[in-house]
Symmetry: C2
């Protein structure tokens, strides 16, 4: 039976599960609500819907004794929801680092491996069907933030609101930074990061330099990968296709099986009451984060320049780990200076960058990219 | 309550789940049988037991309406059983390539990255607690074969007997081969391989050269990883700690939750009848396999040697992809010749090797190592 009338489905008692694959957050929200209210379980691939209205929809489902299965909403076929929820059930999850947007990863891989500019790489992605005609939601990091909201909520057993997530996209990434970072041994990736710190959790999406031998640095093209650190499992990583018709179908069908077998429902019964007992987690502001930083400046080629720049870093308690400066082209008045800092406080770095931009020896706005430090494995003993 | 009396546990109706972590295949088999017969479900980390007596034990459990959960038996904390069974439920699994023994991977990594000999690396592994005092079952490939039997059984939905698996360990691996392979761009790994071919499945454990940019080549130290190719999900890889107290505990506790929630049982009810409908899969003999090969010979340093060697390859329909020969040391009568072949039939290669060893220009037995060709993603359309 083929129908474009939702009522026909809602009123058919033979239909136990509604699968929502229309996308968006308006009509889809209405459909999911109605499916639940008419006594059906829901399988959805709609990350935006759940990231924006998840709290409302999950609580509606819970009240009605229905379930919402959403494996396909994050990282396509990779069973990341299943893994966090069941496979890592015995873990206090400490950190999660994900390459969760295939479009951005394809663009960055083209830039890194093929030397394409951002504009060329974006065109490549569009011609291969990896990017929409309007790629905004992918390249500005929103899509990654949607996924992070779901993954972090599940990992840290808390409810995450999109506005809690600091988001920076890849639109401003330049080929020069990818090249300079490469000289220092780093590969640029757009990461979705959730970390449980001592006094709260930090959630952010931004481009980050990853050490070249790190597995995340090896994730190329449109593939996705998620690194998770748990207190008992240590480091675990899942890699696979984050989008595409068949990988998404793989996740949707796995969810249907999970709902049809009754497992999704019995799991909800067992887990939901526990989740309600969790205290809300404190969200850390970006300023409080600590990280290493890559900074690139266009600086005047004359004695004293480096001293002025270093003074600004020093004044804000930022130590330098390495400095890269190539010979300038003949006649050039400004030279690119690339600095890799030691671990520093984001708030201090932001202040240093503002001051740096005001120096008369610095031209334009300095570029600053966070550097991923590998999370230490803290296996409980 | 602490007891060393099994009867106390068997007779206690308050105990629903028995967790078998004693290891071995004799006492453990008895314990598992008795637990099932006394109406308890079983969680076990015992791969040897299930690889050898799985058919008997699973069928006993099924008859008695009990379940055996065994996530911890393969790859420690990595939820690989959960992923294959649930996450990839919608997939026809085409191939599986695993680094499933941390001891071997630690030894090979020490040899590759630190230039240690096999004997030195084995000692390193023992001193770090990664290898037993008697490391035989790890280094001869048996442990990997046990895990492959379980993973392949689950992936290909068939029952796999240990004797169906071709097994070659790492005891004979030499530092020179790791180095020559490295010059050609390959990294040596001990792989457990299961492939669904047109006319059956092939199952084997052996050292294999993996291309350096392949994710499996980046799996270092005692870590494990499993690459799976499914008809709808494409390529997916799981990486993590394959052994150790806490990672194993992570898997055991996840299994307890799965059994306690009733999900393990409802899954068994839904899936077991389907499995019985599967036709037995034909097992392919190793001779029928096709692969690329790395061959190292010690050959007499005189005109005509290479011609004789190449003739043997040619006579067995083996094309050469590349040949590596360094200048000999002054006064050396024999030189190492390293050949990388094109895809060839294993039966032909074995015959060629026997003939090669009989050539008067070749000294000793040629070394032959299979080369992993990346499995093509065959996404259904």
């Amino acid at each position: 039976m083929l129908t474009d009338n939702l009522e026909t489905i809602l009123n058919d008692p033979e239909i136990d599960i509604g699968i929502e694959l229309v996308g968006g957050t308006t009509v889809a929200r209405d459909i999911v609500r109605k499916l639940l209210e008419s006594g059906k379980d829901v399988v959805t691939a709609n990350k935006a819907l759940l990231a924006e209205h998840g709290t409302e929809l999950f609580s509606l489902a819970h009240r009605l004794g229905r379930v919402i299965a959403f494996e396909a909403s994050c990282c396509g076929g990779i069973p990341i929801i299943n893994t966090i929820r069941d496979g890592l059930a015995a873990n206090r999850i400490l950190a999660i680092y994900g390459i969760v947007n295939g479009t951005c990863n394809f663009i960055l891989t083209q830039m890194t491996d093929e030397g394409r500019t951002y504009a060329q790489a974006l065109k490549d992605a569009q011609s291969k069907g990896y990017a929409e005609a309007d790629p905004t939601l992918d390249v500005n990091g929103s899509d990654s933030a949607h996924k992070l909201a779901l993954l972090a909520g599940l990992s840290f057993k808390t409810s995450v609101s999109l506005k809690d997530i600091f988001v920076e996209g890849i639109e401003a990434v330049s080929l020069s930074d990818i090249r300079y970072g490469g000289e220092l041994g780093y590969v640029l990736k757009l990461l979705a990061v959730g970390i449980r710190e001592k006094d709260g959790i930090s959630l952010r999406v931004h481009p980050a330099f990853v050490w070249k031998d790190d597995l995340l640095a090896q994730v190329k093209g449109s593939f996705n990968a998620v690194s998770i650190y748990g207190h008992s499992i240590g480091h675990i990583l899942l890699y696979g296709r984050g989008a595409g018709r068949m990988p998404t179908a793989s996740a949707v069908v796995a969810d249907i099986a999970d709902v049809a077998s009754g497992n999704a429902r019995s799991r909800q019964k067992a887990i939901a009451p526990l989740a309600e007992k969790n205290p809300a987690l404190q969200l850390l502001s970006t300023e409080a984060l600590h990280s290493r930083y890559y900074v690139r400046l266009k600086a005047l080629d004359k004695p004293g320049t480096m001293a002025k720049i270093c003074t600004v870093f020093g004044n804000h308690q930022i130590s330098l780990a390495s400095v890269l400066q190539h010979e300038g082209e003949p006649g050039a008045t400004h030279l690119p200076i690339v600095v890799m800092t030691a671990r520093a406080c984001e708030g201090n770095m932001q202040k240093a960058l503002v001051e740096m931009a005001q120096l008369n020896v610095v031209s334009g706005k300095p570029v600053c990219i966070r550097v991923l430090e590998e999370h230490p494995e803290e296996l409980a003993s």
